[in-house]
């Protein structure tokens, strides 16, 4: 008996039976092949199930809950409406003025902590708002509220730069100060000696 011979026994009897159309009777190997393929398929299915999130493809070719994950990101940059909810006088002070479109955050920072404390304070009277912080030259990046009257804040928009629209109010600092007769040394709050912040009219 041959122990390993592919197809070795398939036609042992065929010629004696007088037929050319011998049948393939070595089915054992086919079963082995089938079992192997089935096992591969099974492993593939398990791997696929493990790799693909449950909610994949329910709303489109992506993980549906990713939309919720992204939408859960907190909004840091506060719209002016948030500030005006408490500081209503400022809203009226700025209404219709040239700085109406300038956001509170530009001169007072993101004030994330300030807003959070104020919201807690609305429910709990013992929560006191911290005083405004010192402006350290960074725009927006501080979590605390600050009040910047530094001229760098004003000039970050208004210093004349090539490319600005013709109708934008821009100044060449040296020329403007000379015109106004400003005396040296200039204070950090030079601009506020003539202009307001909320109402900028000189």
């Amino acid at each position: 008996m041959v122990l390993f011979s592919i197809g070795g026994r398939m036609t042992d009897k065929a010629p004696t039976q007088g037929t050319v159309m011998t049948s393939f009777n070595d089915t054992r190997h086919l079963w082995a092949l089938g079992a192997f393929l089935a096992a591969v398929g099974l492993v593939g299915m398990v791997v696929r199930r493990e790799m693909i999130p449950d909610d994949f493809g329910t709303t489109g070719p992506y993980r549906a809950s990713a939309l919720d994950d992204i939408a859960a990101q907190p909004s840091l940059f506060q719209a002016d409406a948030t500030c005006h909810a408490c500081h209503e006088a400022v809203k009226h002070e700025r209404a219709g003025k040239s700085h109406e479109a300038v956001r509170c955050a530009h001169c007072h920072g993101l004030a994330v902590d300030h807003v959070a404390m104020a919201r807690r304070g609305a429910e709990d009277a013992t929560v006191a708002l911290p005083p405004a912080a010192e402006w350290d030259g960074d725009f927006l990046t501080k979590a605390d509220l600050y009040i910047s009257k530094d001229r760098a804040t004003c000039l970050s928009c208004h210093e004349a730069v090539v490319g600005m629209p013709a109708d934008f109010k821009k100044i060449d600092v040296a020329v403007h100060l000379e015109e106004q007769g400003a005396s040296e040394p200039l204070s950090r709050e030079t601009c506020f000696e003539c202009h307001g912040g909320h109402d900028t009219a000189p």
Partner: protein, 301 residues
């Protein structure tokens, strides 16, 4: 002659020598020893055919198992649900648009900081930027990037105004292409076109291959140094879903950035789009951007 035919032939050859009673052999005469090879080859043909038949059936059968419904966890070829179905968006999906008015931008860079802070973008990288195009009187056109704190105090040498013919700022951000190349190339479906038409990155699924960064013709996408995965402007999707304006729009002091629903004829952006001629970037690529620009020159497009 393949390997597994060899023993068949040798066995058949031996059998044929013993008694050659097959039909094919009878016609040709069985007296010669060479006659034995004819039925042997034919039998080999038949067995191979049968073998292939059976093997193919089994293979196809095994493969078809994976197609059974319920066997697999999900199928990426599922059609989109009908409008009004459940999910994240309301029945009538809002359509958003973004309008950049280059004639209003002053290059203050407020939008850049707002975006960085809002979306925790690492230093040295940005989801949005502002280019300045300076056309000189001698025909040169130079482009530079607005510093995040604006030109004031940046110490950069500015072009002399008398040499300049024309200059303007062009803010850049994701164009949210309807036919987005970045979306198509993602191998793991981490690029999402939300039901509202906003292109998002699933940072959990992204494997950081960077293919989408290469694919974006506008250079919007980048590999976030902190997270190691793709990052991009998503029109502040989280804010938009709360009916807030994107951070850069909120931060713009001159109204150069306008965001809103283009399916609402009363929105500011709809009114602006209806009255002012606008253009898109790289229109020839056919990506169908949703971000539209006022005042684009040929140098920009």
């Amino acid at each position: 002659m393949s390997l597994f035919e060899l023993p068949i032939l040798s066995t058949l050859g031996a059998a044929a020598a013993g008694g050659c009673a097959s039909g094919g052999c009878a016609s040709g005469g069985c007296s010669t020893g060479g006659c034995g090879t004819a039925p042997a080859e034919r039998t080999s043909e038949n067995s191979r055919r049968e073998f292939l038949k059976t093997a193919t059936t089994l293979t196809l059968g095994a493969m078809s198992l994976t197609l059974l419904p319920g066997v697999t966890a999900g199928d990426d070829m599922l059609p989109l649900p009908p409008p009004g179905g459940d999910g994240h968006a309301p029945a009538a999906k809002p359509m958003y648009g973004f309008l950049i008015d280059t004639t209003k931008c002053i290059g203050a860079g407020k939008c850049l900081t707002a975006c960085r802070v809002e979306n925790s973008v690492p230093d040295g990288q940005s989801r949005t930027w502002v280019e300045r195009y300076v056309h000189y009187k001698d025909g040169r056109v130079e482009v530079d990037l607005v510093p995040e704190t604006g030109y004031a105090g940046s110490g950069e040498v500015q072009p002399a105004a008398e040499d300049v013919l024309q200059a303007y700022f062009v803010p850049k951000l994701c164009n949210q292409c309807v036919d987005a190349p970045c979306n198509q190339v993602c191998p793991v479906h981490a690029s999402i076109k939300s039901p509202e038409g906003i292109e998002l990155v699933d940072t959990e699924r992204c494997i950081g291959c960077g293919y989408c960064v290469q694919a974006c013709p506008y250079g919007i996408r980048f590999m976030n140094h902190d997270t190691g995965v793709a990052d991009k402007c998503n029109w502040c999707y989280h804010r938009v879903m709360r009916n807030e304006q994107p951070a850069c729009v909120e931060a713009c002091p001159t109204g150069a950035r306008v965001f809103g629903r283009i399916d609402d004829p009363d929105s500011e952006i709809s009114k602006r789009l209806a009255t002012v001629p606008t253009n898109v970037l790289k229109q020839h690529l056919g990506t169908l951007p949703l971000t539209r620009y006022v005042g684009l020159t040929d140098e920009v497009t």
